[in-house]
């Protein structure tokens, strides 16, 4: 019964997002991909695949991040503002079920969105190189890692949304996205710092989401394989990190007075 309710909340979130023309971003993406495919086919001989994969995967990641942040931050606050949350929570729905349902709903939206964008990337790839190669399989792994990134950023947006205003949540989530992309450099800075600053920087570097471990776009563009160990560990990392953020969101939301 519990999981059924979560599924209902998730599917409603998904439906609302789709109706809110979220998937319209696919049109922009399609234009970008076809433009890139046609252009690079003419100007950058020899590195067409490289350009298409780099550009395509980066666009998939950025489009998804923007959607995750901008929908994610409104997931809770919008429902409070419209008082729909009140009608939901006055039913046999527990607060944590609502949060978890919202999370899966948005993740589902992003997965579907990524699926269509992935098709776009592969079509563009086929267009420039006329046939698929074995190495193109690694693009799928890179796409999978991008979905793992969405898992984390969605959970974080939800976490911020559970206590903060949409604007602040967006700022927080976006900052973490940027910092998380440079997490390893942050650790580099930490290693060069001394005393308290070093501890602080090291702690921050471990606490912010490490998006660079989930980014294999460059290496995949060069047709390099991704180690199975890395796939496994990255999956585990993303799940655990998202679990952490969702737990935090539940914890805050469970204690919150919905004024």
């Amino acid at each position: 019964m519990r999981s059924v309710r979560i599924a209902h909340i998730a599917s409603n979130t998904f439906r609302e997002a789709v109706r809110d023309r979220v998937l319209y971003n696919l049109i922009a993406f399609a234009v970008l991909m076809s433009g890139a495919a046609i252009l690079v086919g003419q100007i950058s001989i020899g590195i067409e695949r490289l350009v298409v994969i780099n550009l395509g995967l980066t666009a998939v990641s950025l489009f998804g991040m923007v959607i995750a942040i901008f929908i994610g931050i409104g997931l809770v606050s919008k429902e409070i503002e419209k008082r729909t949350l009140y009608t939901v929570l006055s039913r046999p729905v527990q607060r944590w079920e609502f949060i978890v349902g919202k999370f899966f709903g948005l993740v589902g939206t992003l997965v579907v969105n990524t699926f269509f964008m992935a098709i776009g990337v592969f079509v563009a790839l086929l267009w420039v190189s006329r046939r698929f190669q074995m190495a193109d399989g690694w693009v799928l792994v890179a796409l999978y890692f991008i979905v793992l990134q969405f898992l984390i950023i969605t959970a974080l947006a939800l976490l911020f949304s559970s206590f903060s205003s949409p604007l602040l949540s967006a700022v927080f989530a976006f900052s973490l996205f940027v910092i998380g992309s440079f997490a390893e450099d942050l650790r580099g800075f930490a290693a060069m710092a001394q005393g308290a600053a070093r501890w602080l920087a090291t702690g921050t570097a471990y606490l912010v989401p490490n998006f660079s471990t989930l980014n294999v776009v460059s290496s995949v563009a060069h047709g390099q394989p991704v180690a199975a160990q890395l796939v496994f560990s990255n999956t585990l990392y993303a799940l655990v990190y998202a679990g952490m953020a969702v737990s935090g969101a539940v914890l805050i939301f469970e204690h919150r007075n919905l004024k």
Binding site: D20, T87, P92
Partner: protein, 313 residues
């Protein structure tokens, strides 16, 4: 068994960002609503009505006290399956149709899958929206949204209903329909607890009312009791413009209107007044105890300056 039992429920918020100051939204409230009643929760804007409803719905955590609905704790999911709630001025998911929205709520309330679509179309007809089930909610007017709100509250056939300002945003016909609906619910044996700042709605509808102001309960009772001869006076009307001299001593109010004269006298002097009129052979049209309106009672319970700000009838 009381449908709703409120035992000393109180709420203090901390306001301010930096230096938190306590702000009392609700003083310890004791209230009991019987099953099958229509109970009006009256007060001007900002009196603590919505806070009380949010406390009962478990949206806000009380600073003190507790409450039971249908004998069960507030966070009991079993209880929540048997209540309905209409928040103040609800908006809904803009891009869903009314039917989809109600289906979603039916799912959350645990309505069996095969009954869902029947219940949804039934309830849409009941709130006067039989033909717009397929329309997206962003195209709905404020009044239509209010009806959808009522529909979602009664959808799963709950025992106890909580309406926060159910008449707001409705035109006179809509208000009439909502009033009729509440009457129907009462006839079906449901308990209705609704808040309003519009006294005429409460006066015609409620079995009992409570009056709350500045977070504090100011009075509670049957409308008839509250509005009965609070002042112990009777109104006497007779034909003609003659006022007996003996009567002038008792009357708190006396004036002629066309060919009749109206006087308000203390109940204790009723017989003496009638005797005086008879002696003058004046024809008595009516003798009625003076009933204060709910509004007058309301104004009496609130300080005059405060009442003026928040009340309209």
């Amino acid at each position: 068994m009381a449908a709703i039992d409120i035992l000393g429920l109180a709420k203090t918020y901390s306001v301010g960002f930096w230096r938190k100051k306590p702000k009392c939204a609700l003083q310890p409230l004791h209230l009991s609503v019987e099953a099958g009643e229509i109970f009006g929760f009256l007060g001007p804007n900002g009196a603590g009505k919505t806070t009380t409803l949010k406390l009962l719905m478990g949206l806000v955590f009380p600073s003190a006290g507790s409450a039971r609905i249908l004998g069960m704790e507030i966070n009991d999911p079993q209880m929540k399956a048997r209540i309905g709630f209409l928040p103040e001025q609800p908006y809904f998911y803009d891009y869903l149709t009314a039917t989809e929205l109600l289906e979603y709520y039916a799912q959350l309330s645990g309505v069996a899958a095969k009954e869902r679509s029947r219940k949804v179309s039934e309830v849409l007809a009941r709130v006067g929206l039989p033909d717009v089930g397929g329309m997206q909610l962003r195209k709905f007017s404020k009044g239509m949204l209010q009806r959808v709100g009522i529909a979602q509250a009664i959808l799963h056939d709950p025992q106890v209903l909580f309406f926060d300002e159910p008449m707001s945003g409705l035109d006179p016909i809509g208000r009439r329909e909502v009033r009729d609906l509440m009457e129907q619910l009462k006839q079906q044996g449901k308990t209705v607890f609704f808040s309003t700042h519009i006294l005429s709605d409460a006066e015609s509808l409620c079995d009992r009312v409570a009056i709350i102001h500045l977070g504090e309960l100011r009075g509670v009772g049957a409308v008839a009791d509250l509005t009965s001869s609070v002042q112990g006076q009777v109104e006497v009307v007779w034909q003609g413009n003659l006022v007996p001299a003996s009567l002038k001593a008792f009357a708190t109010e006396c004036h002629g209107t066309g060919d009749t004269t109206r006087a308000v006298v203390p109940e204790a002097n009723q017989d003496a007044v009638i005797d005086a009129l008879r002696r003058e052979r004046l024809r008595i049209v009516s003798v009625i105890p003076v009933r204060t309106s709910l509004e007058e009672y309301f104004v009496l319970k609130l300080k005059p300056s405060e009442a003026a700000a928040g009340v309209r009838s």
